[in-house]
Each structure stands twice: as structure tokens, then as C-alpha cells.
Symmetry: C2
Subunit: 343 residues, 2 copies
């Protein structure tokens, strides 16, 4: 649930992720979360993720063999052993999918990820920003099909992986950006998994004002509290795209907030003005429990709070904004950090 | 040009194929065509092909590195050397593409192919019919992207390769069904390249009646002689699909023949009656020279003869008809061999 707060509406439903990880631990035993520092600099770590439309992930399940298949292919291709799996991104499913695959490959999980949040496309990683090659990318489906990519740019990997995902039925399992621990220390968001676990624990403890407690914990801002009055959603080109409108309630009567998403929430707008945007994290949460609601679960009539929190500082350089800023998603606006908009 | 006669309208334009092979030989030297019998039974042969819509092949060129890249990936994956390249299918480009790649990999080309004609989809091969695995399938584009597939069925390979072809711009280079010489003796159309070369030489020699000479050489039937009065063509889902109507001229006045194609000509119909269908080979040829005209080159006003010739006998078993017969292409008709329809 903590990973889903950082997922910004994407990365998969934490209810599903919890069930998947719970079952994996029940059958395969507990998984060790290790710090990068506890591994050798030369050890190979393997970031993994589910790829596709979260709307599909909710109903198309893993067979359980995916992790072992990905690991075998990587080890054969690179001619060396994988020492640990890592999160490709944070999110309700992608934050815990390494747990699933750690149990069935017998590996530890390392405490870092490639985004510090979730993003919809494969090139949108701290690894790409640091110049780490995405290759080889390996993907597999629950039937046993396996595809390996060696691409000239991460953008080409994104383009080709997305079409294969569609032909596999809208969702697949993958690994990408295999790297050494030494590289990971520079090219990942270090400690992001244990940070997400802290936030998850906070959500499980009943607070008097869970929204305020959550905001305090993640330096977040509550943009609005209200009721969802409009949802528009398409599952297209391997993505879940759309928008929701939230009408303010209580002290927010008469206000309307619009969220637009491509798997993840991209921008929040009020009266035509952007009140938060990528790469900062925008997450809708249940108004009573502060538990995150992913974009594919947003429904008419839900009572939600929308919170915005600062992204990892790595995303705020001009190079990073060129990779993941609002213009990449066709919004002709400058990125303004959320704390400048609301601080 | 001979390969294009057997290509049934597909497999690429022989003019382009001739230019490509000519340039390859000019820069890389001549290529040896060897019989399967001259290789060791245990030698590995690598069938290769261009995949995509022939309409795209006419304007999207190879970089020249494709063959070497495919060979390297296969040799690394299988851990053994390739001894010769082979045609995936016959056709104006695909019948000679192994020449191009033989020169830049230093390999001979072996005298066989996987269809004895051209077909639009990857599972439509004598190799699949014989139970040879399509894996690993490797494809690459002229930019340097490389994708390797390990699929549970050839139909899954077809589905996924087709989507990647589309993302690569509609055309790519590939190898598939790597096999030993011992397997190839049972699972390919043996001698089909030298057979195509005989037919090509016949077309280069001026005959008094080239259509009749061609039909005599390939046991073909001239279905109609006339003028193209209608062409409908779409480049969609990685295929070139459409139909042409030919109005009879001379002795065929008042008759109309309709050809329907998906890369290759699939059925020829007259007055609602099927007069030839897959797996038999239907090829439009220039009425004066008998030189084949591929489906992407068919134009309003062209004077053509349409000839139909028997496919290799391997395609006439019930199992083969299930793989490549008219019903596979959504025509609700029984396959009747062309010599029964016209003999």
C-alpha cells in the first residue's frame, strides 16, 4: 500500500499485489530485503516489473513461472548469475512483484527501484537518465512465450515492448536495465522500498486524521477532498488512459479538480490551472482511510482526497524534465515543483 | 524472377530482389548454391526472410548488416555454428535475400526453402508441418534493433512478430526454424531454388509464346488474359491486403476474373466460382513477357495473364490443407487442386 502511494495511481492495485506477494511467501517462504551496501559492487541486480494496462492486470494472472524464466534468459545471455531482484517501479503490484519472483528464484530483493514512483513508459527511469543500457529486455507471458529485445534506445524498447504486450493480451512480465550494484548506487532511487514500507505501515495504523498523517509522512499536499463525478477511461495501445473529475465536498464545496492519467496520474488541474504535474506524484486516496486508489479503480461516486507529493530530487534536473516532464506527455506547460505551487 | 513465379504475387518484387542480390555479389563476391546432400547431416542451416508488407519493402531498404546480426544471435543462442543460409520462402526478394546475407556472412546458400512458394504467415511452412520448432525466431531492423522470440507455437510467433514488424515500420529481416541438414531433408521443399532458377532463365530467353512456354515449364494453366480494371489495396496489420479485377481481352472478351490477396494471391474467382485457390500458386504475369507482377505492383490498366500452378505435393495432405487451405484465410470453400479444375 505504501508503494501504491508513490505509484501515483499506477503500478497496479495494492489489493492484487498484496494477494500475490502473500501467496508467494506462503508457498515459497519469506524474502529478504537487502540494502545495496550489503551486496558486492560487482553483483548483478535484475529490475523486474509487470508491463501493460493496469485494467488488464486486474483480471489476467501470472502462472508463477515468469520470474524463473526471465532470470534464466538473462543469465544465459549475460553469462553470469543474478544476485538480487529489484523493483522496476513502485506501485501496488510492481512494488511487490520482486517478492513473488524472489521466492521462486531463491534470490533476495534489493532496496531500490528505477523511478521512486511509477511511470508509464520504459525509458522513464533513473537508469536511463544515468546512461545505463536497458538491454537486454526480456518479457514473458503466463503461457510461456518469451521475447528478448536488444534495442538501440530505451524509446525503441518501449515502442516494441508495447506492441508485444498488446499481442500477449495487454499484460506481461519483464526485466530490464540489468546492472551491477556499483551502477545501481548511482542509477536507482536507493532505499525506496523500505521507505514505501514505512508509509504502508502508517496506513495500517489507525490515525485520527489519516490524510493529514499521510501528508506529514510524505511531505504531501491535499489538493481536494470530494466526490468523483465523472470518469472517462480507455484501455488502448497497451495503456489505460483517461481522466476523472472530483467535485469538492465539505470545506471544498463548489470546487472541481480534474485528473488526467496514462496508467499513472499525470496532471491535476483546477479552473484550467495546473495544480500538480509529473514528475511530482499525484495520488487519489480514500477520504476515510487515506489508502491509495489506483487509476483503474476510480469509480463514480467514490469519496476521495487527492494528494500531491514531491518526486525524488533526481527527477528535477533539466535533463530529467526532458525525459519525464509534462511536455513529454503533450502538456504544453512548464513543470513547477508541487511545494512551490502549494508551499 | 523464377522465384517470383512461385511466389504467387508475394515474397517481394523481383526487380528489387535482383538489385539487392546484384549489389551484394558485386561487393561481397559470388555465393555458392549447395545441395542439402553436399552438407553433413548434423550441419545447421538457417532459413531467412524479409517479413512485413511488400508495399513497404519497395521503399524501406536494408542496411546490409542484418544477416550477420541474425547469424551471431543464433550462434550465441544455440551454441553452434551455422553452416548455410536457406530461403524461408520463394519470391522476388525472399528467394534471393539469402544471397545478400550469404555474401556478408561468408556462408553458402542451400538449395531448398520452407514453402516451395510464398505464404503470408510464419506458421505456413513445411517445417511447421513436419513438427520442427520455429524457435528461436530472431528479427532485426536496419537501425540495429534486435528481437528474439521463443514461442509456444508458430502461431504465437506469427502474432508477436507481426506486431513488432509494425512498430519497426512495416518491414524487418528475420531467421526462423533453424534446423539440421537431416531435418531439412524431410522438412523443406528440396531443390526449389535451382528449380526457380530454371524458370527464371526460361523467362530471360525470348520465346515465341512466353506464356505458353512458362505454363509448359511449371505445369501451369492460363486462367485469363486481360486488363486490370480495378485495384483495391490496403497496407494494414503488417500485411498488404486487397483484390484486383481483370477484364478479359482478345479471345477472353466479356470475362472477368477477381484475385484476392494477403501479400500473396489467395483465390481467383470467376462468376462467383473459385477457379484456383491456396495452396496452389496463382501468379499474375505480364501478357507480353510472362514476367511475374507482384501484388504490390498491380496497377489499373496493366495487361496481364493470370496463371495457376500446382503447389508442391507436400501441401495437399489434409493436415497441410488445415494449415494453408482456403478456410485458414476465411474462405468457406473446399480446396480443389488446380489440375482437377482445369485439367
Amino acid at each position: 500500500m505504501g508503494a501504491s502511494v508513490f505509484g501515483g495511481g499506477g503500478g497496479g492495485d495494492p489489493y492484487m499485489g498484496g494477494l500475490m506477494a502473500g501467496q508467494a511467501i506462503e508457498t515459497g517462504g519469506e524474502v529478504e530485503l537487502v540494502a545495496l551496501d550489503s551486496l558486492d559492487d560487482d553483483d548483478l541486480i535484475l529490475p523486474v516489473a509487470m508491463v501493460g494496462a493496469p485494467t488488464v492486470m486486474a483480471e489476467k494472472f501470472l502462472s508463477g513461472d515468469e520470474g524463473a524464466r526471465l532470470r534464466t534468459e538473462i543469465e544465459q545471455t549475460l553469462g553470469r548469475r543474478v544476485s538480487a531482484v529489484a523493483c522496476g517501479e513502485l506501485g501496488g503490484i510492481n512494488g511487490v512483484i520482486p517478492v513473488t519472483w524472489a521466492t521462486n528464484t531463491g534470490l533476495p530483493m534489493v532496496d531500490c527501484d528505477l523511478m521512486g514512483r511509477a511511470f508509464p513508459e520504459l525509458q522513464m527511469t533513473t537508469a536511463a537518465l544515468a546512461g545505463i543500457s536497458i538491454n537486454p529486455v526480456v518479457m514473458t507471458d503466463e503461457r510461456g512465450n518469451l521475447v528478448k529485445f536488444d534495442t538501440i534506445t530505451p524509446e525503441w524498447a518501449e515502442k516494441m515492448v508495447r506492441t508485444v504486450v498488446t499481442s500477449m493480451g495487454g499484460e506481461a512480465s519483464m526485466c530490464l536495465y540489468p546492472m551491477t550494484v556499483a551502477q545501481a548506487k548511482e542509477a536507482t532511487v536507493v532505499g525506496s522500498v523500505s521507505r514505501a514500507m514505512e508509509v504502508g505501515r502508517l496506513l495500517l495504523e489507525a490515525a485520527d486524521d489519516p490524510i493529514a498523517a499521510l501528508c506529514a509522512s510524505v511531505d504531501g499536499y491535499a489538493l481536494i477532498e470530494g466526490k468523483i463525478v465523472d470518469v472517462e477511461r480507455q484501455t488502448t495501445e497497451g495503456f489505460s488512459r483517461g481522466s476523472v473529475t472530483i467535485e469538492g465536498t465539505g470545506g471544498h464545496n463548489g470546487r472541481f479538480l480534474r485528473l488526467e492519467f496514462q496508467n499513472e496520474n499525470l496532471v491535476a488541474m483546477e479552473d484550467g490551472r495546473v495544480v500538480a504535474s509529473v514528475p511530482d506524484i499525484i495520488t487519489a486516496v480514500d477520504v476515510h482511510t487515506a489508502r491509495p486508489i489506483v487509476t483503474e479503480q476510480l469509480r463514480y461516486g467514490q469519496r476521495v482526497s487527492v494528494i500531491a507529493l514531491p518526486c525524488d530530487p533526481i527527477w528535477r534536473s533539466p535533463e530529467a524534465i526532458e525525459l519525464v516532464g509534462p511536455r513529454v506527455f503533450s502538456y504544453d506547460i512548464d513543470y513547477v515543483p508541487v511545494e512551490e505551487l502549494h508551499g
